[in-house]
Symmetry: C2
Subunit: 410 residues, 2 copies
């Protein structure tokens, strides 16, 4: 028999699917003696295990609910859960109905579906530098060109973005942004810059994808209205006239592994997305959606409060440790929420080289910044996560890292 040459049958898009060095690296970090700032995952101590167990038990003890929970279902998602999300959005300045909502398998699936619907090969996606690595992985499959989104305007005009896209053989199709306590920078976009972003999107006639994964986890300061809520306000309260696509998730507020996220947008987009969902995996787990609907009602607020309290303490510990232990020339962001801070190293120190030495010499891990750039990576950057390590480990780990950076600084 002639063996099949798989590379001969792959689509061109599959060449963009490459293993992330970072994710490979993270697999190696299970050694217990390593202090890791590399993750981006919630602390499992926050998972509402009993509430989930009770919800499962209640649903599966009622024959009618059990039959519904385990059977095929509609692609849009479980209606009571979409109703709860519509209420939550309404409280945050986005009046909408369940018809404006699609349930997805985490917001990662939302990003994949949006790129699938919007990007033809060679089209341009506007993304920040740096931006969320998982978004780049989702978008890459649809062979886009990237251009750098500067939310506060900068000196790139809409016409210049459009001309560059056309020169590359496509059109600008969307702007993607993580506006609150961004992954990886921890930075929050001001209301003024959100308005400027909407102006830019309006001039370019494109949607804004608002990845709101961390919005609920604000430790201090005043909440900034979501881009979608500003868009709704511009349009007389009518979501049907908006251009913003809001991606939400329960992964950081309740639990990741039920894989429940959502998209909120005008119905013409949602209706197309429902077809994408139907073609993609029919529907999200009905049982998990029913459990999440119960958790949302009973434990969402308390769980968010607990997460905020825990992560604020760790953020404070990290800020104190950085101030105490980092040599001159190292800069970092001061996130008002979320899971991450972003560190800029002295010129000439490469984040990837630092990681190799940090693991070998100091048993400390983090993610080098390079992976978060679609183009023109800044090598002298790293991302530190503060949701997973304990306060004690934060102090010790940053002291070790500071010593190493001092040794490497010329």
């Amino acid at each position: 028999m002639t063996a099949l040459d798989w590379s001969h049958v792959f689509a061109t898009r599959s060449e963009r699917m490459r293993a992330s060095e970072i994710r490979e690296l993270l697999k190696l970090l299970d050694q217990p003696d390593i202090i890791s700032f590399a993750g981006g995952i919630p602390d499992p101590a926050l998972f509402p295990v009993e509430a989930i167990r009770d919800a499962q038990h209640a649903i599966l003890s009622d024959p009618k609910q059990a039959a519904q929970a385990l059977q095929y279902s509609i692609s849009e998602g479980y209606l009571p859960l979409r109703r709860w999300i519509a209420d939550l959005m309404g409280k945050n300045g986005v009046p909408c109905t369940p018809d404006n909502i699609l349930i997805t398998c985490g917001s990662q699936q939302g990003l994949d579906f949006l790129a699938k619907m919007l990007l033809s090969p060679g089209d341009t996606a506007l993304v920040e530098a740096p931006t969320y690595l998982g978004a780049l992985q989702a978008f890459n499959c649809y062979e886009p060109r990237y251009d750098r989104l500067i939310p506060d305007g900068g000196n790139v005009t809409p016409a210049a973005y459009a001309a560059a896209a056309e020169k590359a053989g496509g059109r600008v199709k969307f702007a993607y942004v993580v506006p609150d306590f961004a992954n990886p920078t921890g930075i929050t976009l001001s209301v003024e810059n959100r308005e400027k972003l909407l102006d830019l999107a309006t001039e370019l006639a494109i949607p804004v994808i608002e990845d709101s994964a961390y919005q609920a986890l604000r430790f201090e300061g005043e909440a900034v209205p979501s881009i979608l809520s500003l868009d709704v306000a511009r349009n007389g309260g009518d979501i049907e006239k908006t251009r913003t696509v809001f991606c939400g998730t329960f992964s950081k507020t309740l639990v990741p592994a039920l894989r429940i996220g959502w998209i909120v947008a005008a119905t013409p987009l949602i209706q197309k997305l429902v077809l994408t969902k139907q073609a993609g995996d029919l529907h999200s787990s009905t049982l998990n959606q029913m459990v999440m609907a119960r958790l949302a009602e009973t434990t969402y607020d308390a769980n968010v409060a607990r997460a905020i309290a825990l992560y604020r303490t760790r953020r404070d510990a990290l800020m104190a440790a950085l101030a105490a232990s980092m040599p001159k020339g190292v800069e970092w962001t001061k996130p008002e929420g979320g899971l991450f801070t972003w560190v800029t190293l002295p010129d000439g120190i490469d984040g990837a080289e630092l990681l190799a030495r940090a693991i070998a010499e100091e048993r400390v891990a983090f993610v080098p910044g390079k992976a978060f750039f679609a183009t023109d990576a800044m090598a002298n950057t790293i991302r530190l996560n503060f949701s997973s390590p304990t306060v004690e480990d934060i102090g010790e780990g940053i002291a070790r890292l500071g010593r190493l950076i001092a040794r490497m600084t010329p």
Copy 2:
């Protein structure tokens, strides 16, 4: 504000995403006085509700397992579940390891991922006429051309398939087949024709996608070896040399709404698919995978036996009712398993027209055959499902349908 024209930003592929008339129709069929042969879903009486409840409870009562079940996880899937699947495949002539397996959200997601990896726009997918509607919906998003797969050879040579594909601006990328008790026809591909299909795929240097959704539900007769097992046998027992991609699912044997399916193939393909999964939705629900691993160990065999017993009775009832009630000129398949039979009506009776009248005049529903064809639909066909209606309803419903067809026959 200028409202966004969404059609201006959709990718060309999104134009292929259309609402299926059938699925729209099925939504209307909740009226309790309709006898429906339209569904394609398992009987919820078969769901192992208690076993699922017990599994959830056990996992979530153990702190270590609970933390794992609810946390982010690897894209490949839960290792003990992949081990169980590897054992099952091994028992069925496919020696393999967990590295040959990716867990998907139902086999629908497997079909989407395979099309995503394999199809560039204009490439050719070989599909049977008729074939599974959900596969066409998944493939459509990647803008293929379709050519008719004739598994038993027919008179189309491999060179003719290749030439037609090249003329259309692409290449033949795969052959897709539901070999056992196919949806929609109920027909099983003979071992001889499976071998011919492998010969064809070898000459064309393409993979075969084997959608094995119904294989376990055989009521009678001898099991036909899977195409993958024949491919393994051709290659000295080495799955790494095979070209067949096996898509399996627990949706028909245990429960659909945990959304657990799997793909088995050579590792070069699985490794690419893992990246697709990572970019697509990170991973399937860990909790659901852990529950399914327990169900697989404890109730899989018993559940399959119960499903076979129940569906066999209904298949028998349907065959008897068709023989008793259908006028001359109506033909149907005699499935040895699965959920469906395929009815060919007298020339000139359109399945869609028949449905409209069947609902209005006889309160009976089914799916018109047209939707299952990628090209050149045969309008005088319908699909009847026998997994959902009771034996009593089958007799009554087919009697009504027979009367109506008799009235419509010239």
